[in-house]
Amino acid sequence: MSGIYIHIPFCKKACHYCDFHFSTSLQYADEMVEAICKEISMKRDRIAGNVGSIYLGGGTPSILPQAALQRIFDAITHNFSVAGDAEITIEANPDDLTPQKLKELKALPVNRFSVGVQSFFNEDLIWMNRAHNAQEAETCIKRSQDAGFENLTLDLIYGYPMLTDEKWLNNIAKAIDLKVPHISAYALTVEPRTALAHAIKTKKQTPVNDSQSAEQFIILMKALTEVGFEHYEISNFASPGCYAVHNTNYWKGVNYIGIGPSAHGFDGQNRYMNPANNTLYIEKLAGNKLPEIVEELSLNDRFNEYLMTSLRTMWGTDLQKIKTAFGNDFLEETLHNLRNFQDKDWLLIDENKIRLSQNGKLFADHIAAELFIVND
């Protein structure tokens, strides 16, 4: 079943490491919601059949008032047929999840939160320029669970300079104690044009150390799998069966439409990209035009995307699927490329599936690039 991604481009504060598209001014929030609802209705023909997942990301969707969120959901239900068991996720920051907010969210069709915890240490949160404190990080999860939102995932970050291995183990333990069915843990990535990148460039901040990041990734895999989480994608861990439906569909090549500035969509063949510019986005839609750019994917592009995303998951890359979906030449070349890995312990190959070993997970990009098929 297809998915809908909606990008809410507003945040209270700019986290130093973040390069997602957002604005810290809510001045045009009404116009934005209006534009989003219009885009939803203009794309109503893009999904045939039921919608299996809806994901409100950002930015910080929880920053929007109840009425605005209600309008967006109304637009969705008015234009699409949403499956009864659809996964409907909203990204929320701990400071937004007040008792009042939870009550409001309860009135919406939302059934899953993705909470941007990042760390349970105050000094880390300050360093990241997060809007919440350590206390809120913990209580908001419990409060949400008490309000009946059991299907939670929380985000953690590792590999940043002030995170010792000990603190990292502490954060992981806290997350486990909170009894959430899903945890996403991301290695800090220095993205260009962020405050963090600038601080490193001007030597106000020590650069990120990949040795530390690798070590903490290993700690993470060990700690979470030991308590029964499945490492089902590089940065995602879930209790058995509790995989994120929407995100998993990205890696399985399922169709989805993207709504909102900077949102992307995929129809199985082409990718659609909205401009990462609020004003432009609002103006276009006010003129009844879709602001999207289409990127046509060649067979090679689609193969490389399949390879790159599937390899990151515990389900692995299916050689049989390569043959049926891309043809024998692709299979042959893949088998040929696989020979480069014979003397390394990075890949597990069985039942026609290629999976990453624990060591291989540290080099997923390198491996994917090696297995890519590119034309000169």
């Binding site: 990535t189 590089i234 949102a263 690039a369």
Partner: protein, 595 residues
Amino acid sequence: MKHIRNFCIIAHIDHGKSTLADRLLEYTATISQREAQAQLLDNMDLERERGITIKSHAIQMNYKVGDIEYNFNLIDTPGHVDFSYEVSRSIAACEGALLIVDASQGIQAQTISNLYLALEHDLEIIPILNKMDLPGAMPEEVKDQIIDLIGCKREEIIPASGKTGMGIPDIIQAIVDRVPAPVGEPDAPLQALIFDSVFNSFRGIIAYYKVVNGEIKKGDKVKFINTGKEYLADEVGILKLDMAPRNVVKTGDVGYIISGIKEAREVKVGDTITTVARPSLDAIQGFEEVKPMVFAGIYPVDTDEFEELREAMHKLQLNDASIVFEPESSAALGFGFRCGFLGMLHMEIIQERLEREFDMTVITTVPNVSYIAHTTKGDEIIVNNPSDLPDPSKLDSVEEPYIKANIITKAEFVGPVMSLCIQKRGIIVNQSYLTSDRVELVFEMPMGEIVFDFYDKLKTISKGYASFDYHQTGYRKSDLVRLDMLLNDEPVDALSSLIHRSNAYDFGKKICEKLRELIPRQQFEIKIQASIGAKVIARETLSALRKDVTAKCYGGDISRKRKLLEKQKKGKKRMRQVGNVEIPQTAFMAVLKLD
């Protein structure tokens, strides 16, 4: 012959030679304004982009004063030190020269050395102060410089502007009045001086010449005295905007000859054409074989493309006889060619032409000059490649080429220019103030020191206010060593260089640091070392890559990341492997630009 005026233009790059030339062509109605595609004389793309004339050309203009029609032959000259021999031959074909000086910038080193060449050949100099329209023009100061230099009268200097057309009629009149007509014996055996040649894919090599004595006729059997080769003059003529065939080109005139020559190598600038039927016994003085000064390896980025590269090099040689090459192989780079160039600009031009005209992307190795090694056995070996240097145990001594470098700069930059030259093992031999603010410095320097980045550095430290010219003065004994680079103990032959011992430590350290920056980290530690013989003189370590995995891979990340990895994969295809280390092509080039 009385009404022929042969002249060239001496000017520094950017002093407006081409624009002024276009004005002359317009004024004499040789071209209409509409035809005057900006800067007509420079007709290679590359030339127009770089604003310099790489290869000389010639064009004839006709101009009537009363009933008398004058034939002006403008012989264009290249404006870069790499091509100074060609300049000397063009000058030798003229009786006069327009000395163009930018009124806002004053005289530059290149102008001076070409001016001296012109004076040596007794050319009549017509000084022109160009770019008078610029707000920064300082006509009086620059006039002082010109008077100092050539000892002309103040009123002989013509103020002009190629942009506005100012002064053009005065220049034309001065050419008529002041440039002497050529002198020659119409009845003598043919002697024609070849000053340039071009390659035409339909007609072969077209040689440009000035008839010094006698005349050349269509259908003549001609002989090139220095090469000793004979051809049939299929077509002769004069050079208008296009070639204009004539039955005869007479004494004093400038023309072309087409004789079915296929390779540029057969037509040597400076050679003399005579007839087989009535040959001249002497060649015109001043012929030299052009010798390459700078050598470097050129390798295809894609090792499969060696044959294509060979083909491309041969085609390049068809119209650029000054490039020489022979096959060589490198453990790091595979099969390629050791190429000789006239200078660094020439090397860059060849590299760019390979890319533009032949779609060949190449790796160029560290360039070096030509050394002479003396072995203990008493043999003399020409070393054009670091790997040719004999083993230290068999090496008695090495000689390296020296140059005399002329640098003209503003007084305020004398200090930095001196330190740069001294750092490059230069010895100052003269310093003179051209004006209160302009200084000419003369150094003796090893040529090997200017091969790397001397000119760039000179421009930087002088904020662009330094001009530079040089000529070779001979060989001197020198303490030269071969500096080898090792990656995880494997030597990378393509990174070896020949260098003076006193510079080896500093240079080795810098290369190690640069390689550490440029070689991507791999899954193991990489030891980077510089060594002289078995002795390691510098070392850096590139730590192992521990992790190479994207954290987030959702909606929009997917195609972005795919493109990134595809780029990485393509880049990797172009990397070269030495031992277990993968080296990007940029690393082979980067040693050229170390600071």
